[in-house]
Amino acid sequence: MAIAPHRIIYLIFPSIIILAGLFVQNSYYLQVLTFIGINTLLALGLNLLMGYAGQISLGHAAFYGIGAYTTAVLTVHYGLSPWAALPCALAVSALVALIVGFPTLKLTGYYLGMGTLGFGMIVHIVFREWSDLTGGASGFIGIPPLDLGPISFSSGRNYFYLVWAIVMMCLVVSNRLINSRVGRALRSIHDSEIAAGAMGINTMSLKIRVFVLSAVFSALAGFLYAHFVMFISPGSFDFLVSIRIVTMVVIGGMASIWGALFGATLLTLLPEWLHAFSEFEMVVYGLILMVVMILLPQGLTRGVLDIYEKSKTRNR
């Protein structure tokens, strides 16, 4: 038997990353590619919660922000090394997710959406108003760049490699998780909570755990973002950012690991391409998203696969 397609992709994908790192010279392109990686992490995290477990969150930018602000505060105010701040950033985000998850995940559907939306707004206000710690609305400056021994990640290329190495790791983690006993349990909650319970799955506990995991993914993205741009402000973690993460998951294709990558890529690139439309940028942006959702309601991944399968049967 030939190697299964999903295995080939584990060879192709890293090769593309390495080649891109070697041949892309323009620092602006490298920067965009790095942002795609950071957004992929965000989409991957939310996809576990929303795509697989079927629990919507309209407040995920909060965890993204908590990751970014925790590392900023610890490295700048307390002089910690970023690598020591990283576990703290992840832990703070996980802890907040745990505390928020207990009451919030009892809600379902629209109510869960509202609950998480409110949470996101509260956290955004905290970032803006707690100015002694966060620098308030004017933002937080002077976040140090990352380095690891002799390797400095202050260059665009090295940071690009770092981010994508982490993305690949998280892709593998997500993929393994989904195709496991826990992953099946997660997906079963999505389809029928009562039947999942009757199979012996403690649905509440599992929902909280995947919520925490997805918050940790987001915090990791926040950490990478903070040390990449070295300046953060509350505007980078507001309600619109939460919505954009949701859009990445939906456009890419819910319940699809690669969907997170496609969704993040499209939603990062679109605004860059659409600068040419100047004041009509947002109109065109919205139109493209509408057309994608109308033509490919299951998202890019499923849509492309369907077209591929149709063409295969036609050729037969």
């Binding site: 393994r176 998780l177 006993r181 079963s188």
Partner: protein
Amino acid sequence: MKNRKQETADTSDLLAVQSLSKAFGGLQALYDVSFTVERGTIYGLIGPNGAGKTTLFNLITGVFSPDEGRILFENKEIQGIPIYDVVKTGIARTFQNVELFGGMTVLENVMVGCHVRSRSGFLGAVSRLPRVMKEERRIKQKSLELLDFVGLMPYSDQKSTDIPLGRQRMLEIARALAAVPDLLLLDEPAAGLNAVETRSLGELIAKIKEKGITMILVEHDMSLTMKVSDMVVVLDQGQKIAEGVPKDIQSDETVMAAYLGKSG
């Protein structure tokens, strides 16, 4: 916790329902219902719509807690235990309105059924230690055996909701069996099935009985219920109105009046 001794406890009884009552708001769904199920038998539970049959299932499986009464399974009180813990004690069920995991394949549905008899968690999933992979293979192997047992092997890779209703009901049974239950609750397994499908369902129930699994069957298909059941309990408006072997129930005046209609 107080360990109350059950004086009427009989070792051959797998399940004892004692004076069970449950109300939803003003509606008394069940009132003072008692019966015992002997190990290795099939209990038919019949009654008109709204008689409280599904409520009884939901109480036994921990979907709700009873207002009053006790449920003894293998002489241990299980009322009020959450649904996901009840299945650990050895009670599995199917659902009246088929509750399959639609996003998953037929095989994966049964694999979820193995959840309670396996252990790997998040770290196991990510690390893929040999122990985890071994368990994963065991889950798959066992699920395939169960698919074979219910005759769904050819459908294993199809999406669970793409197969015909009759097969979906078989799949629910296979998924419930994956939990290795001592007691299997079947909630209207023949609803919506044609005559051929109902016959093969009857055969499957007999095969499950041969494995020594006790069953409680809620069913509107009288000929099926009377054929497979060892004992029949009749509920009407939340109360038990009759109990006995199928032959007696069929000729019982009260049952005729309440359930089959006076003209029957």
